[in-house]
């Protein structure tokens, strides 16, 4: 007899696998067309497929994790299983993370095969997609945490758009500040989810390994806090209904 966690994983996989296939197909095709056509420098195509793909896939996955269950009325059944609610959410997030990261891995593989060593070294391409993957995971946690109590998928994705809009507004405002918010070592830049962009900078604006490690640590701590907040709220009754 399968364990409850195994069953949960299988259920999530069945629900999310089309998103994984969709992401792999579209991101892989987009990357291949862009790198073959060379409309933009390779870094531009890597940025478009990686960063935009990460943002879109994380929003798409996040809207289907909890809000969809609530909308269909199946969340109560899940919470009634003999596992802690936190385990249910973590299982969902694990499968969601796979659905976010697999398309980026496919795009990275396509980029390395088609353009490795052409304008960017294979190492830089992989590093850029690593940064995009980090952004995808952060965005998934942010979108899930803030959309956790939404009764429908539409409202969950609306919350994701609002979160992204707030990030962007903060980015615009802080960019105009005089002390260089995104300079290496600035905590504001490291705490901002757009901080992953250092992994996409050109070799002329390189960053130190220490800066990258500090950025990852700050963003991991931030995501961890958000995850704890989400876990604390997950078992409680949600908003009424649509």
């Amino acid at each position: 007899m399968a364990s409850p966690i195994g069953s949960l994983l299988w259920k999530e996989w069945r629900e999310q696998r089309w998103k994984l296939g969709y992401g792999c197909g579209t991101l892989g095709a987009f990357t291949a067309i862009g790198l073959r056509a060379r409309l933009l420098p390779d870094l531009g195509i890597v940025f478009l497929s990686g960063a935009l793909g990460a943002g879109i896939m994380s929003a798409l996955v996040a809207m289907g994790l909890v809000a969809a269950e609530r909308d269909e009325g199946s969340l109560e059944c899940l919470l009634a299983l003999p596992v802690r609610p936190a385990v249910v959410l973590i299982t969902k997030l694990a499968v969601g993370a796979a659905a976010c990261l697999a398309p980026l891995a496919v795009a990275a593989a396509v980029a390395c095969l088609m353009a490795g060593g052409r304008e960017m070294t294979t190492g830089r391409i992989l590093l850029a997609y690593f940064g995009c993957g980090e952004f995808a995971l952060c965005a998934l946690v942010w979108f899930t945490a803030f959309g956790l109590r939404q009764p429908t998928e539409a409202q969950a994705v609306l919350v994701a758009i609002i979160v992204f809009g707030v990030w962007y507004a903060i980015h615009i405002v802080f960019t105009e500040l005089p002390y260089g918010w995104d300079e290496p070592g600035a905590l504001t830049g490291m705490a901002h989810p757009f901080g992953f962009s250092v992994f996409l900078t050109s070799p002329d604006r390189s960053y130190s390994a220490g800066h990258a490690a500090a950025l990852l640590a700050v963003q991991a701590a931030e995501a961890g806090l958000l995850l704890l907040w989400a876990l604390a709220r997950f078992g409680r009754p949600g908003r009424a209904t649509t």
């Binding site: 969709y22 579209t26 056509a37 060379r38 409309l39 531009g44 998928e153 994705v157 105009e176």
Partner: protein
């Protein structure tokens, strides 16, 4: 009537928050940005981002409003309620539609109007605020159509979120399909915004100088008129008609209760496929489709690309590359002189290999030293470097620019010991023009080099390859031709066209009075170059003639002019010692996407009825045109290398093309051309 007003009031209350939110975003954020710029940099307080935000976010806002205007009332329970009210379906739909449309139009007009007003108060020249006015005139039509489609989908798709996402896909098609499909180009909002002249702000006296009364809308508080092109009226008419059509379709769909149950998968795959179709169509139109045969790094393998190729020239063995060593700059110190090298490219068994580095320059004394490369097929072991140096960095303000060095260096490529520079021909006496306006064209033809400046053409004889000598100096003052600007004005814009061929609109307008196309027949005066047949003089003269972003070449009876916007072919119908008469055969206009991604023409080679054109903007693009039927020039292939900057192209005997910058690229022809179709 009271029922209609009540319905409108209900719809207004439902949608007014979108107006407030949109105005706060589209006018408020630019104001915040302007305030921060004012506080940080002390610039003028100018909220000039409103029109850009409308460009980017106007269509998404229209989709949200379109969905919000229709979806709430389309829920099954409310639909039944409205069906029971004594109000016609048409009135109900039309009221909801129009209130939303008014909000969309207000959102597209008010922020750019604020921009335009702020800029008009601080800047007198109309072009400062013409972007805002263009946005106000163009974007509402496209946003209106996107809104109409969103309204239709919200009425027919069961779930509002899915309707909105499908609307995004449809909006992408409305906005971008005309951009990537050339036949639909006149319906593209982006083309109208990017191309100048469709919405123009002109003072009244301009119309008088054009011989007509003022046309267009007079702007308030000014003597300026807003005039529109024919393409604008076509665009506006089609967009308005499409809105009416979509509204009629909506009425039909709601009346017959057509409901589509589009799931999340349908929505996602639709959106993804639309993006891929648009991206793929763009890539097919302007992306690389020529096969890359070889790429070789210019420097040692694995090293940073400090050796950059400036140009590549054909030689007897294959080619020669002129390289410049990139110097590191140090703060507080003047830039060091660039070091130049030559490197032979041997084409053995069709594969290129690079020869040893051969230093060219003889102690250049400043960073203003430049070098260009000339080679001839007759002397494959010799290359000629035209070294020039000006006083641009030495001169104090007010000091006339002066040419300090202009030498033709003879360089031995055969690896002989000792100084590879085996000869030096001083050309300062032959070409003494000041450096500021000394565009110098050069070409090798037969056993001679031709150097063309604004004043004269110098012929260098290479009958002894090691000892070049000046054979002739031909004065070409009489062949000056000014196209734009006043030659005597303080800000003169001079373009020398000793052999004028039509390309630019200004030129066409001035010469032929017909701004809609180039002239059919052009008569050229040939340069009085000795020892050449008239056809050779035509070919050399065309190559030396133009300076700037236009190139013209001749091969047999075919003359080709490649410019920013078109490629024009001419046939030589008459030619004698004095003149050549050309008749236009065909013309290929660049598509908007081609114009966007590649502008100036840097080089062109004609070979066997194919034109290899090097264009550049942010990326180097080589385009091959098939001109074997000169009346129908067709596109045969592209090659784009975004990180590279190609100065010129060399065509090898088998039709492959050789380009060089950070790397040496050898590209092939499309299969149908390579197989000699």
């Amino acid at each position: 009537m009271r029922r209609d007003i009540a319905l409108a009031w209900k719809q207004w209350r439902q949608l007014r928050w979108f107006l407030a939110l949109g105005l706060a975003g589209f006018a408020g954020l630019p104001a915040i940005s302007a305030a921060l710029r004012y506080l940080k940099h002390g610039e003028d307080f100018l909220p000039d981002l409103g029109h850009e935000m409308i460009w980017m976010l106007g269509a998404p806002m229209a989709i949200i409003i379109g969905t919000a205007a229709a979806a709430p009332d389309m829920r099954d329970d409310l639909r039944a309620f409205w069906g029971s009210r004594p109000i016609s379906l048409t009135t109900w739909l039309l009221t909801g539609y129009l209130i939303g449309l008014v909000i969309v139009v207000l959102l597209c007009i008010l922020p750019p109007a604020v921009d335009a007003a702020a800029l008009a108060l601080t800047h007198e020249a109309p072009w400062f605020y013409s972007y805002g006015l263009s946005t106000m005139a163009v974007v509402p039509f496209a946003a209106g159509l996107v809104y109409s489609i969103a309204f239709l989908l919200a009425c027919t798709v069961r779930r509002a979120s899915h309707a909105a996402l499908l609307s995004y896909a449809a909006g992408l098609l409305v906005l971008f399909m005309p951009l990537v499909m050339p036949p639909l180009g006149s319906l593209s909002v982006l083309n109208l915004l990017a191309e100048s002249g469709h919405v123009a702000v002109r003072p009244a006296d301009v119309f008088g100088s054009l011989g007509g009364p003022p046309a267009g809308l007079r702007l308030p508080f000014s003597d300026l008129y807003l005039s529109f092109s024919r393409q604008y009226y076509t665009f506006a008419g089609v967009m308005a008609a499409a809105c009416v059509l979509v509204l009629a379709l909506t009425r039909l769909a709601v009346g017959r209760v057509w409901r589509v149950d589009a799931g999340q998968r349908v929505v996602c795959w639709t959106g993804g496929l639309v993006v891929l179709v648009l991206f793929g169509a763009t890539a097919l139109q302007i992306g690389s489709n020529l096969p890359v045969r070889h790429t070789i790094a210019m420097g040692p393998p694995g090293s940073a690309p400090t050796l950059i190729a400036l140009s590549v020239q054909a030689s007897g063995h294959g080619g020669v590359v002129l390289l410049q060593q990139r110097q590191s700059s140090t703060a507080g110190r003047p830039p060091e002189a660039p070091a130049h090298f030559l490197r032979a490219v041997e084409m053995a068994d069709g594969s290129p290999s690079l020869g040893p580095l051969v230093p060219v320059a003889r102690e250049p004394s400043s960073a203003t030293a430049g070098c260009r490369l000339l080679c001839t097929a007759a002397s494959p072991d010799r290359a000629y470097g035209l070294l020039d140096e000006t006083n641009m960095h030495h001169g104090e303000p007010g000091v006339e620019p002066e040419t300090l060095v202009l030498e033709l260096l003879t360089v031995a490529l055969d690896g002989a010991d000792g100084d590879p520079v085996i000869g030096c021909l001083d050309l300062l006496d032959a070409i003494p023009e000041p450096a500021s306006f000394r565009p110098l064209n050069s070409c090798a033809y037969g056993g001679r080099l031709y150097l063309g400046s604004t004043e004269r053409t110098v012929v260098v004889d290479l009958s002894d390859p090691d000892t070049p000598r000046v054979a002739h100096v031909v004065d070409r003052e009489e062949l000056r031709y000014y196209v734009t600007g006043s030659p005597d004005g303080p800000d003169r814009t001079v373009e020398l066209r000793p052999l004028p061929l039509p390309d630019r609109k200004e030129f066409r307008h001035r010469v032929s009075g017909r701004p809609d196309g180039p002239e059919r027949t052009v008569e050229l005066r040939l340069l009085p170059l000795p020892d050449l047949t008239p056809r050779e003089r035509l070919a050399v003269g065309l190559q030396l003639g133009l300076v700037g972003t236009v190139e013209q070449r001749a091969e047999g009876d075919l003359v080709v002019v490649a410019g920013r916007e078109d490629l024009t072919t001419y046939r030589v119908t008459e030619i004698d010692e004095e003149r050549a008469v050309l008749e236009m055969a065909g013309c290929r206009r660049a598509t908007p996407l081609e114009r966007y991604f590649a502008r100036g023409v840097w080089d062109m080679v004609l070979r066997d009825g194919l034109a290899y054109v090097v264009r550049a903007r942010s990326a180097a693009i080589v385009t091959v045109y098939d001109l074997r039927d000169p009346e129908r020039p067709t596109l045969a292939g592209h090659y784009a290398a975004p990180k590279e900057q190609f100065d010129n192209v060399v065509v090898l005997p088998d039709g492959r093309a050789m380009l060089a910058n950070r790397e040496l690229h050898v590209i092939g022809l499309p299969r149908r051309l390579a197989e000699g179709e």
